[in-house]
Assembly symmetry: C2
Homo-oligomer: 117 residues x 2
């Protein structure tokens, strides 16, 4: 006796994809990781490198990325206390995703530019 379901099962793929989306969801997380990976480590620098982001949103996203062990927040004592944000080694595992998204975006732009009919 087998359960009758008329549809094709694709949970094997959907589930891990959704797990990933839960971590890197939203408009800002990947741009922030890119910015930090490329060398920006100060709050203001990260903010300036990502057009349109507000300090409130940046602060919130940084906290979430830290919770997910993707970045580290390092306090540098000194005249004004400074903070350094750095990519955790785990963030490197996102590289294939970032490149796949970048490549697709570049190609997509080409496509919608040329084809207009």
């Amino acid at each position: 006796m087998e359960t009758k379901k008329g549809y094709c099962n694709c949970l094997e793929t959907i589930k891990p994809v959704r797990d990933t989306l839960d971590v890197i969801n939203g408009k800002w997380k990947l741009p922030i990781i890119i910015s930090i990976t490329v060398g920006n480590e100060r709050f203001t620098d990260i903010q300036n490198s990502i057009p349109g982001i507000t300090p409130k949103v940046l602060a919130k996203e940084l906290k979430e990325l830290e919770e997910h062990k993707l970045i580290k927040r390092i306090i540098i004592e000194g005249y004004p206390v400074k903070i350094s944000y750095q990519a955790d080694a785990y963030a490197d595992t996102l590289t294939p995703i970032i490149y796949a998204l970048k490549d697709w975006g570049l190609n997509h732009r080409k496509k919608i530019m040329q084809v207009d009919v």
Copy 2:
């Protein structure tokens, strides 16, 4: 004279990534494309194959995917008119993204399972 900006520029990467995110954003678009790619072509089958999706959300997302030329909506005349959703060839270009997300998700689950300290 050069503009003084203290931060590293990463717009070359951020911009195409955001272009991509604008197309496949949200919780549902990739799961829907996966479901259709795997062989589900009927509204109800797609709905059943994706846990938690409501018909309202599915209808809306299908329209957007059609606008982005990622899927086709084919009307099959008959006793009750049926609709077949099919992946456009362009949807195949998303495969590297889907696999990158799937792999990361599987690995992430392993990581958070084992490391608990």
